[in-house]
């Protein structure tokens, strides 16, 4: 097997193990709720319902889904079997809609918002950070404190402030939602424009905060690299500045890629809360609703999906990293 192939297999094994643990936690933690969750939840959600037949039907649905009368390990296997067939249970809040259906409608919005926002923020942040470290002087003195301040603003805070300034006071952008209410999703130009207009504010608020954090990290890495011996040596050799900058940038870039992998969980979490502020129809907003309604199947469906997405993103970044970092190939060669 090739060196890179071995690296992939090894990584895959670790991520699979991590996934198993994430799924187990997702199963176990909500079952720590004391008492019989089914009767508790059903009594809560059927408040005001008078039809005893409906109440009984609701109760039975969840009894079967949870398998509450069986031992814990058997419940776990039922849970795994359901997962494997793509069944995440029935939502309490939107009974009898299945959780998978709700999530499927939310995923495109969340991915469409977060993936471009995190990538754009990451790229701009890295460029700014590298330039700040390289140019120093006034540029650095301005960019660094601003980036530090923006980075310490929580995602949702910036979102709230932007919502107030640009949507409420200036009326430049819509207040909430993913598209205009009166529109029916079609492939028309108007619909697309409406989606874009609703997309702008949440997108910008995620991008800005991401830029802050990435610029700080990249600046630090670049300063560290600029102070190292090979830069001085190259300068003494008379190598052009632009060429040295390229060396420095490439070396400082690698830890930034690892950094992206490690912080992607936090970023996704923060962006989900951004969605709530803008009532954007993604996973975050659904989770907000689910928590308010104590809709456990939907909450646990959301957390599972988030964990899965973050693991997948990490795995992808690890694969890219193994491909572009020569040291990993070298280390694998030594092992052989």
């Amino acid at each position: 097997m090739s060196v890179y192939g071995k690296y992939i297999v090894k990584k895959f094994f670790w991520y699979f193990l991590t996934l198993v643990i994430a799924v187990t936690l997702n199963f176990l933690l909500p079952r720590m709720i004391e008492g019989n969750p089914v009767s508790m939840i059903v009594s809560e959600m059927t408040q005001g319902m008078t039809d005893s037949d409906t109440i009984k039907r609701v109760y039975e649905t969840f009894l079967v889904e949870f398998g509450i009368d069986k031992p814990l390990w058997e419940q776990f296997f039922i849970y795994l079997k359901n997962l494997a067939t793509g069944n995440l249970g029935t939502s309490f809040g939107l009974y009898p809609k299945p959780v998978t259906e709700i999530l499927a409608s939310a995923v495109p919005w969340t991915i469409g918002l977060q993936l471009p926002a995190i990538l754009v923020g990451w790229i701009i942040g890295n460029v700014l950070g590298a330039v700040a470290a390289y140019r120093k002087g006034v540029f650095d003195k301005v960019i660094f404190p601003v980036a530090l301040f923006v980075n310490s603003i929580p995602f949702f805070t910036l979102a709230i402030i932007m919502l107030y300034v640009f949507a409420l006071s200036l009326n430049w952008f819509p207040l909430h939602g993913g598209y205009d209410y009166q529109m029916v999703p079609t492939l028309s130009f108007e619909f697309f424009a409406s989606v874009l207009r609703h997309h702008t504010l949440p997108f910008l608020s995620i991008v800005l905060v991401t830029i802050g954090g990435q610029a700080i990290g990249m600046r630090e890495m670049s300063i560290y690299e600029l102070n190292s011996d090979y830069v001085l040596y190259s300068k003494l050799l008379g190598i052009r500045d632009s060429k040295i900058a390229k060396y420095v940038f490439r070396n400082a870039m690698l830890p930034q890629i690892t950094g992206l992998a490690l912080s992607i969980g936090t970023m996704v979490g923060g962006s989900l809360i951004c969605e709530i502020v803008f009532s954007y129809p993604g996973i975050g907003t659904w989770m907000f609703t689910a928590i308010r309604q104590l809709d456990y199947p939907l909450i646990s469906g959301c957390t599972l999906l988030i964990a899965l997405a973050v693991l997948l993103a990490n795995f992808t970044i690890d694969l890219i990293y193994g491909w572009i970092d020569p040291r990993i190939k070298a280390a694998q060669m030594e092992d052989q």
């Binding site: 670790w14 991520y15 193990l17 991590t18 643990i21 994430a22 936690l25 997702n26 933690l29 909500p30 079952r31 720590m32 709720i33 004391e34 470290a133 120093k136 650095d140 530090l148 301040f149 980075n151 310490s152 603003i153 929580p154 949702f156 805070t157 709230i160 402030i161 919502l163 107030y164 409420l168 207040l175 630090e220 300063i223 560290y224 102070n227 490690l262 969980g265 936090t266 996704v268 979490g269 923060g270 989900l272 809360i273 709530i276 502020v277 989770m287 907000f288 928590i291 308010r292 456990y296 909450i299 646990s300 957390t303 988030i306 964990a307 973050v310 693991l311 990490n314």
Partner: protein, 278 residues
């Protein structure tokens, strides 16, 4: 320790952050002595704008938002500090154990650390918070602490395992020092600066986590925190009502606290790692 403290005072970044934080803490401690009202008391109409009597206006229940803000900052700082202590201590113990003992324990602990770095702590935080019925601010802080240790553990492990085979540690071993004594006198002093910095960062991220989880409606009960103030503002549609005073001051308070903590951390970083000074 004394001399490093003297150097710290000379760092403008550190002093700026520390002064801002101290001013915040001072305000939070002193103001309730003058204004002895209950922050949850309803004293005005809903969403009254700020005036000379109500410094930051009132919220949807007609409560004094400035007083709420003061109590909110206090809770948020407490939660952040407790979470920071828990995360740092757990991370330190696991990092030291795996770095110093090595072998199979190291492999095991490193694997666990790596797994919990990848599983988003945000998700575990939500799952635990949903499952616990009565959350005091202390419980919330502990939950945040036990979900955010992996970073510290990983860094402490890396430092410890590189220190383990140094000459002074070997000499201590030959001299028959006990393991706890070696760790306290030969390892800890070398990673102390790092641990203090990690604690500052963990406190900042603890405050952010509390705010995020409270925004979702999973915050501590029977108390006011900055996240809870913003949750109320969102649930009762303060932005639509145009009541900026219901959420902007709380949002900016969080930003100022975390900013001052980050500033302190950067200041310390530049002093303890001369290599990254520009």
């Amino acid at each position: 320790m004394n001399s490093s403290f003297r150097i710290l005072i000379k760092s403008p970044k550190f002093m700026f952050g520390a002064c801002m934080l101290l001013a915040m803490i001072g305000m939070v401690l002193i103001y309730p002595l003058f204004n002895r009202n209950d922050p949850l008391e309803m004293i005005a109409l809903a969403y009254q704008p700020p005036d000379s009597k109500l410094l930051l206006g009132s919220d949807n229940f007609g409560r004094d938002l400035f007083l709420e803000l003061i109590y909110g900052i206090r809770t948020s700082l407490q939660v952040g500090l407790i979470a920071g202590v828990f995360a740092t201590v757990i991370g330190l113990v696991i990092g030291l154990a795996s770095g110093y003992i090595g072998g199979i324990i190291d492999n095991l602990l490193t694997a666990i650390t790596n797994i919990f770095i990848v599983i988003p702590s945000f998700v575990i935080l939500i799952l635990i918070s949903v499952s616990i019925d009565s959350r005091s601010s202390f419980v919330t802080a502990v939950i945040i602490g036990i979900t955010s240790w992996p970073w510290t553990a990983r860094a402490v492990r890396a430092q410890t395992s590189s220190l383990r085979n140094r000459d002074h540690v070997n000499i201590a071993k030959i001299s028959g020092y006990s393991t706890p004594r070696i760790i306290v006198s030969e390892i800890l002093p070398y990673i102390a600066s790092y641990v203090v910095m990690a604690f500052v960062l963990q406190t900042a991220s603890g405050i952010l986590s509390e705010a995020s989880i409270s925004m979702l409606g999973l915050g501590p009960y029977n108390t006011i925190s900055l996240g809870i103030i913003m949750n109320w503002a969102l649930v009762f549609e303060a932005p639509v009502a145009g009541a900026w005073w219901a959420f902007i001051p709380a949002a900016i308070s969080i930003a100022i606290i975390t900013f001052s903590l980050y500033m302190m951390n950067t200041g310390m970083d530049e002093i303890f790692n001369p290599k990254i000074r520009s």
